[in-house]
Symmetry: C2
Subunit: 394 residues, 2 copies
């Protein structure tokens, strides 16, 4: 319908410098199709605010050489990806290139105070190490539903103590800059769209298969978060009304049948009941087997492991087939820890999706692995942080 979406000028300009780097004023004017006087005035303003800086002379195009402009080299954003059992922190520059990065294990169930205190310690450490003088924004993803507007988690099932905890407010106060809070799967989708395989794709699903299963949704070029911020919670779609009991209390949820936790359970069973010699050997050496053991044993040709992955792929595929019929996306990206199961998983997902969805919806539907892998989350948190900082420059 005839509704126009207009991005404010300063946002287009700053995003262009972020995504395409230093540029002459003349080229920037061409790129943004903007009259020169208006562009020069806006650049002047953004230089004054400390967002934009001069960057030497451009190569000659004949005549007087033009001066390059770029994002202020002092711009710094913090990007945080909280997992169920991990903290990933990066400090990035204006072009979202990492200056410092920290990864460590941590249990989200320790609650918001302990967890966010650790995030703050890592960020202060980065400052002491020289990664930044001051932060211009912080972006953070958490493994549960979020009210994006309010900057708080909302009834997150695996995050006891986090319900409506003022995450954004705490980070803003601590670092003296704006902060933005989103769901872990949304930030992965944002990262993959900015710098990964979904670059510039407007309608796609990012399916994270890790400890649990969730889905980031891009529709018409925007993240779709739903009425309560919990859109994409596909791990609890029921596949089998006689299936195993899920952590949510229902039975036969996708996540109860296939996820990091379910695969570890099934792999240990296969090691013990003798159906998988490869897993049995790994179990005897290490005392437990994981999803990675299944992946490696499958590559070595262990039939039971190949079957475990295929069963999982079939289950994910049958949920995705329904979502493809519903949402008619133009790409599906598979990420999260279990993406390491690789081609066998992907082939099975594809096979089910292509067979079960409307042909029109799958005629040109790539189903692909995440390009950014474990970095997708922090990459997206950095994009969110820069967007919120740029938004302040109005």
């Amino acid at each position: 319908m005839p509704v126009r979406t207009v991005e404010p000028l300063h946002l287009r300009l700053l995003r262009s410098l972020r995504d395409e780097g230093a540029v002459s004023r003349a080229e920037l004017g061409d790129r943004l199709q903007m009259p020169r006087p208006r562009l020069l005035a806006e650049l002047e303003r953004l230089v004054g605010l400390g967002y934009v800086a001069e960057a030497g002379l451009a190569a000659s195009r004949g005549g007087r050489r033009s001066t390059l402009v770029e994002l202020n080299p002092q711009l710094r954003f913090a990007a945080v990806d909280l997992g169920a059992s991990s903290i990933d922190v990066e400090v990035v520059d204006g072009r979202l290139e990492p200056i410092a990065a920290y990864t460590e294990s941590a249990d989200i169930r320790n609650g918001p105070k302990v967890t966010l205190q650790r995030v703050n310690e890592l960020l202060h450490k980065a400052r002491v190490d020289g990664a930044y003088e001051r932060l211009h924004a912080v972006g953070i993803g958490v493994p549960g539903p979020v009210s994006f507007r309010d900057g708080v988690p909302v009834s997150p099932p695996i995050m006891p103590g986090w319900d409506r905890f003022p995450v954004r407010e705490l980070l803003t106060r601590e670092h003296g800059c704006p902060a933005v809070v989103d769901n872990d799967v949304n930030i992965m989708a944002i990262g993959e769209r900015h710098g990964g395989v979904a670059h510039s794709v407007d309608d796609f699903l990012f399916v994270k298969i890790g400890t649990g299963i969730g889905c980031g949704i891009y529709l018409s070029g925007e993240v779709y978060r739903g009425t309560d911020g919990c859109a994409g919670d596909i791990g609890h779609i029921q596949l089998d009304s006689h299936g195993p009991t899920c952590s949510c209390g229902n039975v036969g949820c996708l996540e109860a049948l296939f996820s990091g936790a379910a695969l570890a359970r099934d792999a240990n069973a296969a090691a013990r009941n003798g159906s998988s010699p490869a897993l049995a050997e790994r179990l005897s050496i290490r005392g437990a087997v994981t999803a990675l053991d299944v992946a490696e044993s499958a590559v070595e040709g262990d039939v039971a492991c190949i079957q475990l992955i295929r069963d999982g792929g079939r289950r994910v595929g049958s949920v995705l087939a329904g979502l493809v019929s519903f949402a008619n996306p133009s790409m599906i990206v598979i990420g999260g820890g279990l993406a390491q199961l690789g081609h066998i998983l992907l082939a099975e997902i594809r096979s089910v999706v292509y067979r079960r969805s409307l042909p029109l919806a799958t005629g040109n539907l790539p189903v692909v692995l995440s390009e950014l892998g474990a970095r997708a989350g922090v990459a997206g948190a950095a994009v969110l942080a820069s967007d919120v900082a740029f938004g302040e420059a109005s």
Copy 2:
């Protein structure tokens, strides 16, 4: 993210007159929060173009009485809803009130030429009957996927001969005005949002249960059509890998288990095998039983009929539970012919959705029947037609 949606002034103004009727210039300025000189100039322009007219004097607010403005009383839109076996045509005025309405049986499989010729005949008849002098736009819904941008059906499964037929072009040429083509379920959702139970709701699903099953999707206040225009095709989501064969060639699709066609099949079986005395009696009188017989027999207390409806509700509910987890809408509207199964159906759908979706997503999720019933489709086609006509006034 900081992206602003800006509706052009003329569109806001014309939509306001359409949806709220005659108004004084002063009130209109307040309503649209627009400076008076700009408003008066725009009104002047729209009067000149024939969209707006003077409508007498307003009641006094003290001082000089203000003149009312309204949409030109001569504005006429045609609204067409093509079903699998029906044609509904209305001619409406600027406020979308029906001036003339025609309903008749027709088989969509007769192809586009025969069907659209009949549509044109009905519209010419409306002119001869005095419903209009000229049409300002035509809106039409068809029972299959549509490329909204191109104005053509795309690989519609139950519409042989319609694939990429230039529906919009033909109607534009015939009636000398813009035309707009959409999917039948989308126009029902648009109608329900404009003048029904979903009034002003930004994120909702309109589930049509008729001969087949489909879903109109509103996200962030806009119809979401998907990459290929086939979003919402939920009738072919698989529920039971050992279920009956579907018209699409797969097995166990929702539509194969519950829809107008499936219910007629199951009702005739229940009449013949003796499980439903009420249906057996109706069968003996009329030679066949339909969904309406099931509805009436259930109200009379026939146990088998109540069970048939409950089974259907459970199946629809289990697909919707997954979609609620995925899309986190703020309302679900049930429409289409089988909505006549009424409260028993609705109660079962609600029960499954509330039990199986994430509590956060169902905490405040009304599941309600369509208010517009059989008129939802033409009502939405009229909204689309007026929007496209108003869009031309730029």
